[in-house]
C-alpha cells in the first residue's frame, strides 16, 4: 500500500500539490501491479476533501485525531503516520514537497532509520527503486536509489499535473487517535499570526505576477511596477538582489530561497534571470520579460520579450491599459 500525506488549505480542501502527489502515487501503484493508494489527513476530513480524495483514487482516508494534533508538531505528525503504518503495512510513504510535507517525512525517515528522497519528479525502476529528484533548486536532476522500508519520498511541486483517477475510489474514512509521546510535542507551534492579506501568500497561487529585479534601480524605482501590478490585480514578486539590497521586503522574493510561483503569466522586469530566481519562476506558463539586455537569460528563456528600460516600457504599458479600459 502507498500512503500519501495530504495537506489542507485554509478552507479544508486538499492543496494542489497534494493532489499532484496522489497522482504520482497512482502511477507508482499502477507500475506496482495495482497496489492501493491511501491518504492520511491530520484533523477534520470535510465532505469536500473526502470527495476530492475519492476522485483522486484514495481507497481509505486515515484521519489523525486527538489533542496531539491541535497545533502543528512535525514529530507528532510523524508519530501519527507511524500509527497508520502499523495497521496498514504500507511500503511507500509520500507527501508533497512542501515545507510541512518535507519536514514530517524527514521526521518519519529519521525515526525509521531509512533514507528520504526530497522533491522527486519521476521514478524509474521499482527494484531497485530509483527516483529522479530536483537538486540545485531544480536546475539539475539526481537519479537516486531509494532503499528502505517504508520507502519515503516527497514529490516536487508542479512536477506532475494533478489528474483525477479514471474511476473514483471509496475514500472510506478511518479514524486513528494515536498515543503521541510527550517528547514528540515539545517542538510544536505555540501561536500563529494570521498572514496579512495580499502579501506573499498570494504569490504562490496568483494567475499573474509582476516581477522586479535590479533594473528597478532603487527602492523608489517601483512605482510603475506597482501600478502595473495593481492594473492586473497581480502581486509583485522580486529577485533576491532586490531584497538583499533592502529595496523590497523578503516576503516578496521569488526564487530558490523565496516563493516558487506558477502563474499563467509572469512579467519579470529588469531581472537578468539568475538560476536562484529561475528556480522560483520556471513553472510560469507564459513569461513576458522586459529587459534592456536582449541576451539576458530571462529574455532568452521567456516566451515573449520587450527590449527596453522598464522605467520607460512599464509606464507606457500602464497608459495603454488605462486607455483601452476607458475606451
Amino acid at each position: 500500500m502507498i500512503l500519501v500525506l495530504v495537506e489542507k488549505d485554509l478552507h479544508g480542501a486538499a492543496v494542489e500539490v497534494s493532489l499532484e502527489a496522489l497522482t504520482f502515487a497512482r502511477s507508482l501503484a499502477d507500475a506496482g501491479g495495482g497496489v492501493p493508494v491511501d491518504a492520511v489527513v491530520v484533523g477534520e476530513v470535510p465532505a469536500r476533501l473526502r470527495e476530492q480524495l475519492a476522485a483522486y483514487g484514495a481507497r481509505e482516508v486515515h484521519r489523525l485525531a486527538g489533542d496531539a494534533f491541535d497545533s502543528f508538531a512535525g514529530a507528532a505528525w510523524a508519530a501519527g503516520i507511524e500509527t497508520v503504518l502499523a495497521t496498514t503495512r504500507s511500503v511507500v510513504v509520500m507527501a508533497a514537497g512542501t515545507p510541512r510535507g518535507g519536514e514530517v517525512l524527514a521526521h518519519l525517515s529519521a525515526r525509521a532509520d531509512v533514507p528520504m528522497a526530497a522533491n522527486a519528479v519521476s521514478f524509474d525502476g521499482l527494484s531497485p527503486f530509483v527516483v529522479h529528484r530536483q537538486v540545485v533548486g531544480g536546475q539539475a536532476l539526481e537519479a537516486m536509489q531509494v532503499s528502505g522500508r517504508p520507502t519515503v519520498f516527497t514529490v516536487a511541486g508542479h512536477a506532475v499535473e494533478a489528474r483525477p483517477a479514471a474511476a473514483p475510489a471509496t475514500a472510506a474514512v478511518v479514524e486513528h487517535v494515536p498515543d503521541v509521546a510527550a517528547a514528540d510535542l515539545v517542538a510544536r507551534v505555540m501561536s500563529t499570526e494570521e498572514p496579512e492579506p495580499d502579501r506573499s501568500g498570494s504569490l504562490k497561487t496568483a494567475r499573474v505576477v509582476v516581477g522586479a529585479g535590479r533594473g528597478a534601480g532603487g527602492e523608489d524605482g517601483f512605482d510603475g511596477l506597482l501600478e502595473l501590478a495593481d492594473l492586473l490585480g497581480a502581486p509583485l514578486g522580486v529577485s533576491r538582489v532586490v531584497t538583499s539590497l533592502g529595496w523590497r521586503p523578503h516576503h516578496e522574493q521569488v526564487g530558490q530561497t523565496g516563493s516558487r510561483i506558477s502563474p499563467d503569466l509572469y512579467i519579470p522586469c529588469g531581472i537578468s534571470g539568475a538560476i536562484q530566481h529561475w528556480a522560483g519562476c520556471s513553472s510560469a506558463k507564459v513569461i513576458l520579460a522586459i529587459n534592456t539586455d536582449a541576451d539576458a537569460p530571462m529574455v532568452t528563456k521567456a516566451t515573449h520579450a520587450v527590449i527596453g528600460d522598464l522605467h520607460e516600457v512599464v509606464p507606457a504599458i500602464n497608459a495603454e491599459i488605462r486607455r483601452r479600459r476607458s475606451g
Binding site: P195, T257, G258
Partner: protein, 267 residues
C-alpha cells in the same frame, strides 16, 4: 544535560556549495556541480543561521562555534563565519560527496558529544533548512534524533532567553496558515531559512581576527553509507524561442494585445 547557564554556546553548521548565481556545470562523473566554473559560497540559509548564532551568543554572553564537513577548501566557509561573529571553528575534513544526510547528521552529533565531554556543550545547534546543492531537507531533523533533542524546522528568527525558568529558544517562521512561533526549552536543534535576518558584512578587523582563530580539524568518526546518488544530469537545453514584441515604450500596444489574448485584462 545540566550545565551552568553562563552563556549559550551555539553550534552553527554550514556547507560549502557551488555559487547558485551562475550557470550549473556538472562534473564529468555526474556526481555533482563543478564549482570550478561557478565559484563557491556558503549555502544562503546558513548565512542567516550564522548571523542568528552570532546574535544568540552575544545576547547570552556565550560563544558561537561554526562547523563544516568538507574538503580542505571548505575552511574558507569557516573563516567567513569567523569574520562575522563566530569565535570558534571545527572542520570535519572529508570528501563531502561521499556523505549522505544520515552520515552528516551522525558526524555533527559526534562533534556535539565530543565538545560536551570537553566542557563546551552546544545547547543550541543551528543548521540551514536545506543545502543549496543537494537539497536533502533532512540533516537537521536527523541530527535532532541522533541527539535525542527537539527540532524546529524552517524558521527565520531565533532568540534565546529564559522562559518559565528554563533557557529556551523562541523561533518563528512562515507556515501555511500564517507566521508561526515555537518556544522550545534547550537543548534543541533549529533549522533556519533565509529572510528573517540580514547577515552582517565582515569588517576588516573581523577578517583579520578570523585568520588567527585556530581551527579544530578532525577526521570523520564513521564510514559514510552515502546518499543513494547514482548520477546527476542537466535538463536538456531548450533553444530560445522568445518572441520579441518590440523595443522600448513603442512595444506597449503589442504587450497589451498579448495581455488581452491571455485574458488577464478582463477585470
Amino acid at each position: 544535560m545540566n550545565h551552568p547557564m553562563t552563556g549559550v554556546n551555539v553550534l552553527v553548521c554550514v556547507k560549502r556549495v557551488p555559487d547558485a548565481s551562475s550557470e550549473v556545470v556538472l562534473t564529468d562523473d555526474g556526481q555533482g556541480v563543478d564549482g570550478r566554473f561557478s565559484g563557491y559560497a556558503t549555502s544562503p540559509h546558513e548565512e542567516c543561521a550564522v548571523e542568528l548564532a552570532a546574535r544568540a551568543a552575544t545576547a547570552t554572553g556565550g560563544e558561537a562555534t561554526v562547523l563544516t564537513l568538507g574538503d580542505a577548501e571548505a575552511v574558507e566557509q569557516l573563516r567567513a563565519a569567523l569574520a562575522v561573529g563566530c569565535t570558534a571553528a571545527t572542520h570535519v575534513v572529508a570528501d563531502g560527496q561521499q556523505f549522505g544526510p544520515a552520515d552528516v547528521a551522525r558526524e555533527i552529533a559526534a562533534v556535539v558529544r565530543d565538545h560536551e565531554v570537553a566542557g563546551r556543550p552546544h545547547d543550541l545547534v543551528l543548521l540551514g533548512n536545506d543545502a543549496a546543492d543537494t537539497g536533502d531537507f533532512q540533516v537537521g531533523i536527523r541530527l535532532a534524533y541522533e541527539l535525542g533533542r527537539p527540532v524546529v524546522s524552517g524558521v527565520t528568527t531565533v532568540d534565546v532567553s529564559e522562559v518559565d525558568g528554563r533557557m529556551s529558544v523562541t523561533a518563528s517562521g512562515d507556515g501555511p496558515d500564517g507566521h508561526e512561533t515555537y518556544v522550545v526549552p534547550l537543548p534543541a536543534v533549529v533549522t533556519v531559512m533565509e529572510g528573517g535576518v540580514e547577515p552582517r558584512y565582515p569588517t576588516i578587523p573581523g577578517r583579520m581576527k578570523a585568520k588567527k582563530v585556530p581551527i579544530e580539524e578532525r577526521a570523520p568518526v564513521g564510514t559514510p553509507s552515502g546518499a543513494g546518488r547514482l548520477r546527476w544530469s542537466l535538463p536538456p537545453a531548450t533553444p530560445s524561442d522568445v518572441q520579441v514584441l518590440g523595443k522600448g515604450p513603442e512595444a506597449a500596444p503589442a504587450v497589451v494585445d498579448l495581455l488581452e489574448q491571455l485574458g488577464v485584462l478582463s477585470r
